[in-house]
Structure formats: structure tokens, C-alpha cells
Amino acid sequence: MTYAKRFDGRGMDELRPMSAKVGIIPRADGSAMFKIGKTVALCAVYGPRDLHPKFMQNPETGILRVNYNMMPFSGHGERVRPGGGRRSKEISMVIENALLPVLDLKEYPNSVVDVFVELPQTDAGTRCAGITAAAMALADAGLEMKDLVCAVAAGRCEDKIIVDLNYLEDSHEDGADVPVAVLPNSGKVTLLQMDGEVTREQIKEIIAKAKEACKKIYEVQKAALKAKFVR
């Protein structure tokens, strides 16, 4: 059996339909929604604000604190156990590391910028959707940023290189999933993980295709941020 066509009939390099909205949570300092296919990420940013517990304060710089959470009813029938776990803790950390290079929090010693990523509905690619939403929310919060951050998962399904995997492709037995976060203007990569096996040639192609796809995501982000102010 060969994987000739994608499960949902998309082209190999085609992203799922995307939509984005900024300013969805009025009480937050910045917020955004990013939807790609059936995956929906909501993000709220609070701060810079006073940081407690006090031992976490850094007198040299403000810190970024990310909380990633999949809602209990978000997945595929199986209930996601609420609260933090090994997986959400790790993803919170990689999102934090993906966002931190564009931020400069030196102006805000002893403070914290809190980023909450919530996923009411998931169909793979949640950390990427989370990063994309968080970048918009941080910009909406008025923080100084060098660039936005766009993220997408690319990968391999049997012998084909594909972009923006859904859950079926992500969990396919012969394949690999490579989430990539890119700074769209400089092309720098701030997140690169891999689950599965690929050859050296394949990973090069995967990263190149992910970068290409991020350009489309960037356009969606830009349009959403500007749409908030167009009347």
C-alpha cells in the first residue's frame, strides 16, 4: 500500500483552512484565536505584571510563563485528564522557548508575562496552533517583539512529505511528525521537534516545506492583527 492521496483529500503541501481573530478576550491584555482545520487554539496574555511567588522573580529581566492546556472534551472521544501532566508541562516549555527569542523583557525586571494557551478542540498540531495564536496575542498585548512567530507541523507519511498533519496522519504507523516554528521575516527556526524516523534528505525537505507553509500562516496572522483596527 502506498500513500498516494491524503486522507482528507488535500494536496501534499496544502494547509488545512485557517482563520484567526485577535482580541477575543476583553479582560486579557492581549488575546487571539487561531483555527487550523479542526484544531482550535485560544490564547490569552496577561502582563507584564507582578510576579509571585517571589523566588521566581528575576531582577535582571521579566520572565515569560506559558501554560498549555488541552480541554477535557477536546480530543477524539477519549476524555483528556484535566490539569497539568508530563506532556502539557513539556509543551508549555517548548512554546515558551519558541516565543522567547522574539521578546525583550529586560525593560520589566521582576515581572512576568503570562501566556495561557487553551485548546477547546484538537486534531493534531496543537503546539503549533498554540504558538501561532500566542504570537498574535503577545503582539495584541503591545509587547515589543522583533518578529512574529508562525508554526506548523510537517512530516512524512509513508514515502510522502506532507504539511500540516491531521490526527490520522500524525498517528499513522509509518510516518514522522516534525513541528517547526519559524520567525517569518528572518527565517530563523525557534522550535524543531521530531517524532518518528526520517532520512537526512527527508528532514531537509520537511523543514523547507514547513518554512514555505509558515509564510501562508504569517499572512493570516498579519491580516487578523490589522483587522482588529479596521472599521
Binding site: D29, P109, A139, G142, N185
Partner: protein
């Protein structure tokens, strides 16, 4: 090349070439001038700067702010004012009255009291001192406090206080706008409601041009009081006449 008054997102290239200089909110990346935050481009000769559309209030020296007492200390009060950092007001800066040793400080300023004060010191670690000594600085009694985004404050005040005096004139309310985005409004309850609505509207439409004239029409419709934006008297008690230039001013 992005046009003047256009909205840009962080990382967006505003201009290329070495003939421009990056101002506030922009930075140079080789031959490009790049936006550093979400804002409106403002090109002033060779300098390109950004007028921010969002962001928390960051305390600045000499800003007049509306603050709330959150703690009473040994030698003063701690104030909160919608910023990541709180401020300290010492006895010396609090009042010109004589305060005897060991007296209960809450009889001067109690927890939850609002004051309009001025920032007199900001350290690199963002330790902040405020003072009540200066014209117009006082405790705020009665009225109500509303919160707006501090980035919109220059627009709410308007050029030489024109916008806020218009609101005052039309609603017959006393209004004090702190640079931190807290606004104190005092008047007849129904007038206060109109003033709140007016200020929220200015906040929402802050990035649009010709706002003063639009607001004059809106206020006249709401209150029936005819206001002339050009003839509005200069604000006497404004928290920030010092910074009317922030939003480009003219409409």
C-alpha cells in the same frame, strides 16, 4: 515602503534604505527599518516611529497618575496604578500637614482611597516614588474610576486637553485623566454615565482621524449641549498637559 499612518505588526518592514532613522517602536536590521510592536507608522522627516496601539502602562518620571492605596507602611503608603509595579508615597511627599510620630496613617489615606499623584522617581529596577506635592494633586472623593488602555490616554486628553474639556463641558462632570489609564469622573450620576460612554468611545476609535469633530457631534446628540471643539477652554486640572504631543495631536 509602508505609508504614513498605516498599521504595522511586529517584524514588518516599514522602509528600506539608509535614508531613514528608526524612532521609538522601530529598529534597524541591516538596511531595513522594522516595526517592533503593533502600532501606527508615523513618519516625521527622516525618523520613523510607531504610535503603539496596545500595551501596559510603564511608569515614567513626572507622569501624573491616578493611584489607589493598597497598603499602609511604616513611613508611608503603597499605591497601585494599573502597572506591573507599585509605588511608594512617603510621609514627606504625602501632605504638607504635620504628622505626629506614631499616629495612625489611615486617617490621612486609608486602604482603597484614590489619589491623583505625580511620579517623582523611577529606578532601573522600577522602584517608584510618588508625591502629592504639586498643583492639582489631591485625594479623590466621590465620583467613579474607570479604566482605559493607557496608550489611548493622549487621545482622550487631546491636543492641549481639547478632547477632555469637550467631555467636561458637555456632561458637566469633573474629569481627571491619569497617564496610567485610570480616569476619575465626578458629576450627576446620569451625566457620569454619558461621560463614561464618551470616553469608552474615544478609546475604541483612538486610531481614527478626525475624532475630535466626530466626538463633538456625538456629544451634542447625547447631551443636547452644543460644544465647539476649537473653542474649548484649555484644561486646568488635567493630569497631563505636559504630554499632548504623544498622539501626533492634530486631527
Amino acid at each position: 515602503m509602508v505609508k504614513d499612518k498605516e498599521i504595522v505588526v511586529p517584524g514588518e518592514t516599514i522602509a528600506t534604505g539608509i535614508s531613514f532613522l528608526p524612532g521609538k517602536g522601530a529598529y534597524r536590521d541591516n538596511d531595513k527599518i522594522v516595526a517592533q510592536r503593533l502600532g501606527i507608522v508615523s513618519i516625521d522627516g527622516k525618523v520613523i516611529k510607531l504610535i503603539p496601539l496596545a500595551g501596559k502602562y510603564i511608569p515614567k518620571l513626572k507622569d501624573r497618575v491616578v493611584g489607589m492605596v493598597i497598603d499602609v507602611l511604616m513611613t508611608g503608603w503603597r499605591l497601585e496604578f494599573n502597572s506591573p509595579y507599585s509605588a511608594v508615597m512617603t510621609l514627606k511627599d504625602a501632605t504638607s500637614e504635620f504628622i505626629p510620630r506614631g499616629v495612625d496613617l489611615t486617617q490621612y489615606y486609608a486602604l482603597g482611597d484614590y489619589v491623583v499623584c505625580q511620579i517623582v522617581n523611577v529606578t532601573s529596577q522600577k522602584l517608584i516614588d510618588v508625591s502629592m506635592k504639586g498643583p492639582g494633586l489631591r485625594k479623590l472623593r466621590g465620583g467613579r474610576i474607570i479604566e482605559v488602555n493607557s496608550q489611548k490616554v493622549p487621545r482622550i486628553i487631546g491636543k492641549d486637553g481639547s478632547m477632555v474639556s469637550m467631555v467636561k463641558q458637555a456632561t458637566n462632570c469633573d474629569v481627571i485623566v491619569g497617564q496610567n489609564g485610570w480616569i476619575w469622573i465626578d458629576g450627576e450620576p446620569e451625566n457620569e454615565v454619558v461621560a463614561v460612554k464618551a470616553i469608552k468611545k474615544i478609546e475604541e476609535d483612538a486610531h481614527l482621524s478626525g475624532l475630535t469633530d466626530k466626538m463633538a457631534v456625538w456629544l451634542e446628540k447625547e447631551t443636547g449641549v452644543k460644544v465647539n471643539p476649537a473653542a474649548a477652554p484649555p484644561a486646568e486640572e488635567q493630569a497631563t498637559e505636559e504630554h499632548p504631543h504623544h498622539f501626533g495631536g492634530s486631527q
